[in-house]
Symmetry: C2
Subunit: 422 residues, 2 copies
C-alpha cells in the first residue's frame, strides 16, 4: 500500500483521485501495490466537491506530519506556500510528487538538497501528459544534449495556429482562447512567455545541470506579432511558434523563450493548436521528438500517477538526473549573446531611397540581408512595411542597427524583430 | 563501479564502448558510478578490432560465470544462442541489457520468469534511440492503452518515402536502400514486416500484458505495392506507411503489421525516410507521439547506455512493466477479426458493366464504396485498373468479395487490397 495525500484538490487533483479509482486494477498491477488517497489539503474545506472518498483538511501539517502518509502530491500551484509545504514534507521524509513548474523554476535546487535520499518526481510540471522529464532524465541520459526546442505553452500555440490558419488577429485569437478556457482572464503569464520559461528552466537542469532563474534568461511574449509578420512568414515557407529554446555552444548554454520563424518542414513546426511538442537533439542519438497534450486535468494526472507508480516501484533516480553536487562546467550564456537569422519589420514612409539607406545601416553593423518584401499599408497608402530577413548575425549588432534605423527620417515606428530559428 | 560485459562487439557494441569513454564524465554523473566494460564476447577473437581497451573471449561462460561482472549486455542478435546466453546470465544473477528484438519476440515471458528479481532492460530493442519502452512502461503507465501505431522499420519507410516523393518503383527503391546500407542483401526480414512484428510484440506486452508470438499475428509486407497505389493514395490525400498496429477493442487486442493508407495530417504520416515514429493513445492522456532515429550504432547505443545508467541508479521496475504473473484479462483477436476501410485495386478488361458488376459483388458482401477511380493501363490500353475505397467493412466480408471478384470474366489478375487506417 502506498498512502498519498493530495495538496490541492482542483481539476488535476480531482482527476488524480478519479483515475486512481477507475484504472485501479491496472495501476496496482503496474505499481506492485495499491495507491490510496488518504487525505486532501484544501483552502476551503466546506466547498461542495461531491463524494471524494477521502477526508479533507485545511492544515497541511496534518499530512506532512502524519506517519501513515508516504507521498505528498502537491497540486496547488503558486510559489511560496507550495515551497513551504513541499519543504516541510521532505523534512518529514515524505516522497514528493508535484506538477508545480513555477515552484521548481525558483526552488528546484533547494528542493534537490532536501530530497537527497527521497523520491522527488515532477513529470507533470512540463508539457502535461508527455513524458519529457523521463525522456531527458532517463531515456537520453547517455547523451550530451545539444539543443532543446519546445512548443510548451498551449495558449500561445493555439493563438498562433489560429492567426496562421484563419488569419484572425492577435486580439481575436486571444478572445477565442479565453472563450475556450485556453487563456486566463489575465493572459500575461502565458502570452508573455513566463510559463514556458519556467518549464524551460526545469528541462535545462535535467539536460545541463544549470541552475538559472526566470530573471536570468531572455523571455519575450507574442504580443507584438502582426498580420504582416504572419504573411511574410507564410510567403517564405515559415511558420511562427513561441519556442522555448536551450542550446549548448561550447561551455555556454543559451536559454530563451521567444516567438520564432521556423521552416514548415521541421517536426516542431507541425505542433498545432493547444498541443505541445519538444524536440531534443543529443550528441549520439540525433534528433528525437515528443508530442502530446500539454495541459488538461486527465493528461496532467496521467503524469502525476506515473510518478506515483514509479515511487511504488522503488524509484531511486536523483531528482534532477545528476548525482547530487555534480558540476557540469557549463555556464549560462548572457541574454544578448545570441547569433541568429532575423526577420525585421520597419514601418516607413514610401519614398525613394528607403531600402538603400536601411541596407546601408545594416551593412555597417555587419548584417547582410537575405530577402526583402515591401508591403503598402492598406489604410495609409503613403506608408509601407519594409520586411527583411537577414543571414546569421550577432544579436548585439542587430539591436544596434535597429536603434540606428529607428532614427532615420522616413521610419515611422520602432522597428520590430523576430528571430528565425534554423 | 558497474562492471559490464559486451556479448557482441560489432557496430552497436563498438559504439557502446566508444560512448562510455567519450561521454564518461557525464555518464558517471548521471549513473552515480563509473560504468566499465571488463570483457567482450565475440565469435572470432582474432579479427582485427583496433584497441578496444578490454579483453575478448569466444566463450560466453567466462562472463556469465564471472562474479566480477554485474551486467551482461547482449548485442549479438539472433534467437537461440542469444537466449541461451541471456538465460545463463540471469541464472548467474547478472542484470541484463539487450537490443535483441527477435529473442524478445519469442522468449520474453521465459526471460521475465528468470529475471524476477533482476534488472532486465531492452530500450534499444524497439525504435533504436527513441525511449519508447520507457514511455509505455513508465511514462504512460496510468493509462489503459487504446492503440499503438508505429513506423518502426526504417527500411520500409525509406523505400515508401522514395516511392512517394520521387515516384521511383519498388525495385528501384529497394536497390537504393541496399546501396545506402538501409536494406540487407536479402531484405525479406524488413520488407516482409517481420522485424516490425518483433518490435510490436514487445510493445504489446508493455501495453497489454499480452503474450503473443510472431506466428499468432497478421504480418504483411510491402512487396505488392504498385505505382497505381501510390497515385491513388496521393490523389485522395493519403500516404502509405508500413504500420505496426496494436488496438484494444473491448477485451480483445488486435496486433498486426501491414502497409496502410493514412491521411497526411496524422502525425505518424509525417515520419519520413529511415526515421521511426510511434503514436500511442492512452485513455487518459490522449494521443502522444515519439520520434527519432530507429537504427544506427550510436542511436542504438544511446538506448543501451540509458539502460546501464538505470541499472547503476538502482532500477527496480519489473521487466515487462507489470508485476510478475499479472493477468490483464485481454486476449489476442483472431488474425482476420479486423474491421477497416479498404482500398482495392482490380485489373480489368475495359468493357461496359465492369463497375456495375464489381459494385454488385461488394454490395452483396455488405461492403459499400466510398470512392472510385479508373485508370487505363499505359501499355495495354484495352485493360484498366479499377481503384476503389470502401467504408468500414469486416475483413472476412472483404476477402470473400475479392475472391468472388477474381472469378468475374473481365478481371485479369487477383485483386489487391490495402487497409486504410483512420
Amino acid at each position: 500500500m502506498l498512502n498519498i495525500a493530495l495538496v490541492g484538490v482542483g481539476t488535476v487533483g480531482g482527476a488524480v483521485a478519479d483515475i486512481l479509482e477507475k484504472n485501479r486494477a491496472l495501476i496496482t498491477a503496474r505499481a506492485g501495490k495499491n495507491i490510496r488517497v488518504v487525505k486532501g489539503v484544501v483552502k476551503n474545506a466546506t466547498r461542495q466537491r461531491g463524494d471524494l472518498g477521502f477526508p479533507l483538511t485545511t492544515d497541511y501539517r496534518e499530512v506532512v506530519e502524519d506517519p501513515a502518509i508516504d507521498v505528498v502530491v502537491e497540486l496547488m500551484g503558486g510559489v511560496d506556500k507550495a515551497f513551504e509545504i513541499v519543504s516541510a514534507a521532505l523534512r518529514n521524509k515524505k516522497a514528493v510528487v508535484t506538477a508545480n513548474k513555477a515552484m521548481l523554476a525558483y526552488h528546484r535546487y533547494e528542493l534537490e538538497e532536501l530530497a537527497r535520499d527521497l523520491p522527488f518526481m515532477y513529470e507533470a510540471s512540463v508539457a502535461g501528459g508527455i513524458p519529457i522529464i523521463r525522456a531527458l532524465r532517463d531515456g537520453l541520459c547517455a547523451n550530451h544534449i545539444e539543443s532543446i526546442r519546445g512548443v510548451i505553452n498551449g495558449t500561445c500555440n493555439y493563438m498562433l495556429t489560429r492567426m496562421f490558419d484563419k488569419r484572425v488577429s492577435f486580439d481575436q485569437a486571444l478572445k477565442e482562447a479565453q472563450g475556450l478556457g485556453y487563456a486566463e482572464a489575465d493572459p500575461t503569464f502565458d502570452i508573455g512567455g513566463f510559463d514556458a520559461a519556467h518549464k524551460l528552466l526545469i528541462l535545462a537542469s535535467l539536460a545541463y545541470g544549470i541552475d538559472a532563474k526566470p530573471n536570468d534568461i531572455l523571455i519575450e511574449g507574442i504580443g507584438h506579432l502582426t498580420d504582416e509578420d504572419i504573411a511574410f512568414a507564410e510567403e517564405f515557407g515559415y511558420t511562427i511558434k513561441s519556442l522555448a529554446i536551450a542550446k549548448k555552444v561550447g561551455s555556454k548554454v543559451s536559454l530563451r523563450v521567444h516567438p520564432a520563424l521556423i521552416t514548415k518542414k521541421e517536426v516542431i513546426a507541425k505542433v498545432e493548436g493547444v498541443m505541445n511538442g519538444v524536440a531534443v537533439v543529443g550528441d549520439k542519438v540525433g534528433e528525437t521528438f515528443y508530442y502530446g497534450a500539454g495541459a488538461g486535468g486527465e493528461a496532467t494526472a496521467s503524469s502525476v500517477i506515473a510518478d506515483l507508480i514509479a515511487i511504488a516501484r522503488g524509484e531511486t533516480t536523483p531528482m534532477l538526473g545528476f548525482s547530487y553536487g555534480f558540476d557540469s562546467q557549463l555556464t549560462l550564456a548572457a541574454k544578448d549573446d545570441i547569433t541568429s537569422k532575423y526577420y525585421i519589420r520597419i514601418l516607413v514612409e514610401d519614398v525613394a531611397g528607403v531600402l538603400a539607406q536601411t541596407a546601408a545601416v545594416l551593412a555597417k553593423n555587419n548584417i547582410s540581408i537575405e530577402t526583402v518584401l515591401q508591403r503598402k499599408k492598406r489604410v495609409k497608402k503613403e506608408w509601407a512595411n519594409l520586411l527583411l530577413s537577414t543571414h546569421i548575425a550577432r544579436e548585439t549588432d542587430l539591436i544596434g542597427a535597429l536603434h540606428e534605423i529607428a532614427e532615420l527620417g522616413f521610419v515611422k515606428a520602432p522597428p520590430a524583430m523576430i528571430r528565425i530559428e534554423s
